[in-house]
């Protein structure tokens, strides 16, 4: 608001005051606001204020061809777009009975895990920045960029890859791609101790984040918390293991958990997950040379494709939590209804409001970011 447009309003005397966190704020990965009412440094109440990124994704999808929506869905979560493409494709494949080639499944997992690593690197920096430490942000973004290089090589797009389509993936990997990904994983693994020294063993950061924004397991389940935020409360639920899709049941990996349910635990879970994702990628890289065959099942002319009548609820594990698509087809060229169950819809609204209330002003931004919410998932 410009000063000339400001009109003073009188309020009854109060020791309370309001502060706006957002809609542009380092505490969240996108445009989203949290209106906080404070008494001194203590948060009395909080109101999540979304809608700044509303583009009507779900409604838009009803007006576009099945295949066109592949270009739309990654935009629902910019930092981790691959699960969006894969989950949407899985739903269509489920409805139309498409058999995805084995090689395509492994390639999808490789992308999913690389995307998860990229999202977690982004998260470390963002979380640290909310406590006033900016070096991990630059490190995280720079290292994430190396992953985006590989995505660019694979798909031509750095952020929105639009590589996974119903039936498989658009094309096979380029020559030498696995070697370059392997070198990248070596580099990232070598960098982890440096992240540990800078961030995870940083006593000031530990002091700032330990015991802050605590949520217990029962509350987490009642409020619909999923993903790393749920695993930080001690419950090792992960869609990849508990309701496996693609080839996750053939892979050897662990589900890291923490017990305290605080900001610190949420960060630690993601740090451990990053290692597990590297482990998964290595297994995929080792297996892929022996898995031949096509990378895409034949589909009808995508510009005149009538997906059979049916519905599907498909879920995957994104870096934010359980991501699901409910897709309903009436046999037309376009979906009748697509509903996106983004994990952030729970985390950034009901969970955030409750978690922040009673907390400290200094911790609001940290709690916001620690939930790793993606505002477009709320505004979908």
């Amino acid at each position: 608001m410009r000063p000339e447009n400001y009109q003073a309003q009188s309020h009854p005397p109060s020791h309370e005051y309001e502060l706006n966190f957002g809609p542009n704020h380092p505490g969240i990965e996108g445009n989203y606001a949290l209106q906080v009412r404070l008494h001194g440094d203590t948060v009395v109440s909080a109101h999540a204020d979304g809608g700044y990124l509303h583009r009507g994704f779900e409604k838009l999808m009803e007006g576009r061809l099945w295949i066109q929506n592949i270009a739309l869905v990654p935009r629902i979560c910019v930092p981790d777009p691959v699960p969006m493409e894969v989950c949407y494709s899985l739903a269509i494949e489920d409805i139309s009975g498409l058999q995805v080639p084995e090689r395509a499944k492994w390639l999808r997992v490789l992308q999913l895990e690389l995307s998860r690593i990229a999202a977690h690197l982004f998260y470390f920096g963002g979380h640290a920045a909310t406590t006033g430490m900016y070096s991990p942000s630059f490190w995280g973004v720079a290292d994430r960029d190396l992953i985006l290089d590989r995505f660019e090589e694979l798909s031509g797009g750095r952020v929105y890859h639009i590589f996974n389509i119903p039936g498989g993936v658009r094309r096979d990997i380029p020559e030498g791609f696995l070697g370059r990904v392997s070198a990248l994983l070596d580099y990232l693994e070598a960098r982890l101790p440096e992240y540990d020294d800078l961030l995870f063993r940083n006593q000031v950061f530990v002091r700032r984040s330990k015991g802050v924004g605590v949520i217990d397991q029962q509350q987490a389940l009642a409020w619909g918390v999923t993903g790393p935020n749920l695993r930080a409360t001690g419950l090792g639920f992960d869609v990849r293991r508990d309701d496996p899709y693609l080839i996750y049941n053939q892979l050897d990996f662990e589900i890291p958990t923490e017990d305290s349910g605080c900001c610190w635990a949420r960060t630690l879970v993601r740090r451990s997950e990053l290692q597990q994702s590297i482990r998964i990628c290595r297994q995929v890289i080792a297996a892929l040379p022996d898995i031949g065959g096509p990378v895409r099942a034949p589909i009808p002319n995508p510009l005149a494709w009538n997906v059979p009548v049916g519905e599907s609820y498909t879920r995957v594990e994104s870096s934010k939590g359980e991501l699901a698509y409910y897709v309903l087809s009436t046999g037309g060229e376009k979906p009748y209804r697509v509903h996106v169950r983004g994990p952030s819809a729970m985390h950034a609204v009901q969970v955030l409001e409750k978690m922040v209330t009673g907390g400290r002003l200094e911790d609001v931004a940290q709690i916001m970011f620690s939930l790793d919410a993606c505002p477009p998932e709320v505004d979908r």
């Binding site: 006033g132 490190w139 940083n202 700032r208």
Partner: protein, 299 residues
Amino acid sequence: MSTTHLLIELVLMPLVAFVVGLAMLLMLRKIGARLQRRVGPPLLQPLFDVIKLYSKRTQVSHGLLHEAGIVVAVGAYVAIETLVPVPGMNGIAEKGGLILLSYLMMVPSLGLALGVGQCANPNGSIGLSRAMTAMLAYDIPFMLVVFGVAWQFQTTNLVELVAVQQAGGIATWGIVENPLLAIAGLFGLQAMLGKQPFEIYVAPAEIATGPMVEMGGKFLGGLFVMQSFQFYTAGVLYTTMFLGGGENWFTFLIKIFVVVAIPLSVAFMFPRYRTEDMVRLVWKWPVILALLGLVVAVQ
């Protein structure tokens, strides 16, 4: 010293402080960039920033105190620069001394308080209250250090302080004679510069840069200039008290840049404490060290 000579020094000293301070701002950004694996800004970027801010067409003033506050803050530093001896120029340092300087160094924060207070922005007010709390926190170890140094060298006169240390060589430098006070002084320096982990009053993610939230154009330019003076003053004061001042400009610049580089480097490796944690820390270790140093000085 002739009046003309004195006048030249009084103009030159703040001018030198401003230029060196800008170079320190560049150093801050370069150190940050290297630690964060970036290239960092070009050589003249701090100067371009000042010019850009002062030439902005939008200059939103919240009233007389808003404007006066910045003038007081920058003005205080201009006065301070004439009170700290540098190689070849003593200005009016003979007339001042550590006690006067300690008082004067509080004035910029108070000027800022005046200016921010009139903006009536809650983020600014919270930042301000945190800045005042921080000042209260670091002033205790700082004053203990000042008393310790004064006792150690039996003088509060900065010119004499430098002369004693330079006459006796490195063995008589404050950092050698009383390392406890020197360490406590470094702690105080970190807090005084408001750098992490003591950066509680800017806190962009919490209070939208606090005192700076309503500052733009020439007001922000004023704060920028103030910060360059602040870096320079902190470096010079520490060098004067503990590193024998400047024998010549070459060694003097090396000393003050090294002194300022320490807190700036540390800043990029830590988050910020909460306010109460900051106060607790600053009132604990630096105060204990300074008290021990004071005991050593008295003996």
